[in-house]
């Protein structure tokens, strides 16, 4: 099977606190997954579960403590020190479109500069043609956007511009870190539909990082659920989201508000009190909130078990 990106046993340990009270926090703990060309792969989980750390390591912003990243069949360790977005064709879009662009600069400058840096155009006319072509992919035109400042666009438009900027260099992998969480629910679909179309028209692979499981189900084929640094469940969206096995996935799935006043939440839930306490936990990190908790869960880290092609990290499914 052809793999565009493979992440192997990725571990990142952050050291926090002062010299006297040093604490080690494992932000991602032997995380492994792969993305095929032309596939949208979702990495989902709550804030502070290690999603963004994983993205940062793939983008080369952070060095992993251990583990390997293999992109286009090449190990990252060999290309060390080079800018991955230039050498390898990885591009990224981020959560807040208003934070992506400098409010005092016209947006088109970013496009011209990118083309210059990548030496993709020699004349202005060539550059404009390329920019216009990419903007049309996201449903905008060059004339609509030339000479305008970020404040002159709506959030949805600006996020689409940010996607166009990422696509300008024709990347093969797009890292989308919470691209829709700041956008209105109604505009959210226009962004998600855009990913769907790009996937069908090109063979762009997308790592879609989100906590919005409804759009994840809508747009992607495979999904990994992360919790406090571990992937707790991974498989096809049909399996993972329609019949979740890990108690945490079940909680997540249940907590998605449905647009139907007849299906209101009835039961009360317990939330984690302090994030760092959960990270420090020995054994299963979800043990403190799990309704099926057993003695074993509090001392032993569960292994990955394969149930119907779905990977589950839970003692309930062992043997």
């Amino acid at each position: 099977m052809e793999k565009l990106l493979e992440v192997k046993a990725l571990t990142k340990v952050f050291t926090m606190g002062s010299i006297l009270s040093r604490v080690k926090l494992t932000a991602t703990d032997t995380v492994s997954f792969f993305i095929k060309p032309g596939e949208i792969f979702t990495l989902a989980g709550e804030s502070g579960c290690g999603k963004t750390t994983t993205a940062k390591i793939i983008l080369g912003f952070e060095e992993p403590t251990s583990g390997a990243i293999i992109h286009n069949g090449k190990d990252r360790a060999e290309t060390k020190g080079k800018k991955v977005w230039q050498e390898e064709g990885i591009q990224a879009i981020f959560q807040d479109p208003f934070g992506t662009f400098n409010p005092l600069r016209v947006v088109d400058r970013y496009f011209f500069e990118t083309l210059q840096n990548f030496k993709m155009a020699t004349t202005k006319r060539e550059a404009i043609a390329l920019i216009d072509e990419t903007l049309q992919l996201v449903g905008l035109t060059y004339d609509e956007f030339a000479g305008k400042y970020p404040s002159e666009f709506s959030g949805g438009q600006l996020q689409r511009i940010s996607i166009a900027r990422a696509l300008l260099t024709k990347p093969n992998l797009l890292i989308a870190d919470e691209p829709v969480s700041m956008v209105d629910a109604s505009l959210r679909m226009s962004i998600v539909n855009l990913f769907k179309r790009l996937k069908e028209e090109t063979d762009l692979g997308v790592l879609y990082i989100t906590h919005d499981l409804a759009t994840a189900y809508y747009v992607s084929e495979r999904i990994a659920i992360m919790f406090r640094g571990n992937i707790v469940e991974m498989g096809s969206v049909e399996q993972v989201l329609m019949s979740p096995r890990h108690p945490y996935t079940q909680l997540l799935r249940e907590s998605i508000p449905e647009a139907d006043p007849k299906k209101r939440w009835s039961s009360a839930i317990t939330l984690s009190e302090l994030e760092s306490e959960e990270y420090m936990r020995v054994g299963c990190k979800f043990a403190g909130r799990c309704p099926h908790v057993m003695e074993k869960c509090k001392s032993e880290m569960p292994e990955d078990v394969l149930v119907d092609d779905t990977l589950v990290k839970c003692h309930l499914y062992k043997g």
């Binding site: 109604s186 409804a214 189900y217 997540l252 006043p261 839930i269 939330l271």
Partner: protein, 336 residues
């Protein structure tokens, strides 16, 4: 359903931002002729896209109108002990007094409002001491602890600094703080936005607990139609500064009449259904330069000639169901 007594009413409310940009005057019509009738002991949800005037409406309702925002026309009445009080006529001091125990406003991003360099305990003490006088420190602290644990939050957070808590916990602490003086109305602006689903559920749970305990009114703005369905008794859909549809939550989701409401609800992805969903076409209009007639007509698939010419009024379709659209009611609509 028995109708509860009115607690807050607006009449033809118009609140505009008056901006002076390089000598030319620009008027942002953020709240344009809004008539609301909010009742005791209900959760009233306001939904709509960003930039439709939701937040400005809340500011007006909380009597927090400050320049450049101006109350151009209309009235806001609070019903204090059954008597209507016109908020705009009150002196700033009287307004402040009334707001203390009558209305609590939790603005957007309020979880960043906690002082980062003092423990939450101090914030609570400050808050209580400024409103309730003549208590010793121990007594005040006991009030805070009792309040926190009554709402199901761990009392040990009082000894924590804000940065030690997650975003969801901070949001719940601020909401708890707002409920401390048992206000008759709590106004919350996007309390769940940018939180992940489990924490979002926790915040909704807390709001519902407070509402049950105090039997008060919650006015909540969110663009998340899923959250709205889960918490609201009645929902008002806002578009370009106007309420375009208002009804009970059941009717809004079960039988939406305005094309905009239909778009908002149908655009939500559903589990078990991968068919392509369409978002609302186009983008929201600029509130400085509104399209003539019905402000939704440039994006509406059913636009007719009259929609370009005249603004539809909010008409009663049924008890508790109001719509402003030429398709329903009136001589051009199907109801005629």
């Amino acid at each position: 359903m028995t109708m509860n007594k009115t607690i807050l009413r607006t009449e033809g409310l118009k609140a505009f931002y008056m901006l002076d940009v390089f000598g030319t005057r620009k008027i942002v019509k953020a709240v344009n002729e809004v008539n609301l009738d909010i009742r005791e002991n209900e959760v009233y949800g306001i939904a709509g896209e960003s930039g439709c005037g939701k937040t400005t409406l809340l500011k007006a309702l909380a009597a927090a109108i400050e320049p450049p925002l101006r109350l151009v026309d209309g009235y806001i009445f609070y019903y204090v002990d059954g008597e209507a009080v016109d908020v705009a006529t009150l002196s700033p001091e009287a307004k402040r007094k009334l707001r203390l125990d009558y209305i609590a406003y939790v603005p957007q991003g309020s979880m960043s409002a906690l002082n980062p360099v003092i423990k939450l305990k101090e914030t609570y003490l400050d808050f209580i001491e400024s409103h309730v006088s003549g208590r010793s420190k121990e007594e005040t602290l006991a009030i805070a602890e009792k309040h926190i644990s009554e709402l199901g939050l761990p009392p040990k957070i009082l000894d924590a600094y804000p940065h030690q808590l997650s975003g969801g916990m901070r949001q719940r602490v601020t909401i708890a703080l707002a409920a401390l003086l048992k206000p008759s109305i709590i106004i919350a602006d996007e309390p769940t936005t940018a939180l992940d689903v489990v924490v979002q559920r926790g915040v909704v749970q807390l709001l519902m607990d407070i509402q049950k305990k105090l039997k008060n009114t919650i006015i909540m703005v969110t663009h998340d139609m899923g959250v709205q369905a889960n918490i609201a008794d009645r929902v008002g859909i806002m578009y370009a500064g106007k309420i375009v549809e208002e009804s009970t939550t059941e009717k809004i989701y079960g039988d939406p009449q305005h094309p905009y409401t239909q778009f908002l609800i149908n655009s939500l992805p559903q589990f078990g259904d991968k068919s392509t969903r369409q978002s609302v076409p186009g983008s929201p209009p600029s509130l400085i330069d509104l399209p003539g007639g019905c402000a939704f007509h440039p994006r509406c698939p059913h636009a007719m000639q009259i929609c370009l010419e005249k603004t539809p009024d909010l008409i009663s379709l049924d008890t508790d169901h109001k719509v402003a659209c030429w398709l329903v009611g009136g001589e051009h609509g199907k109801a005629s």
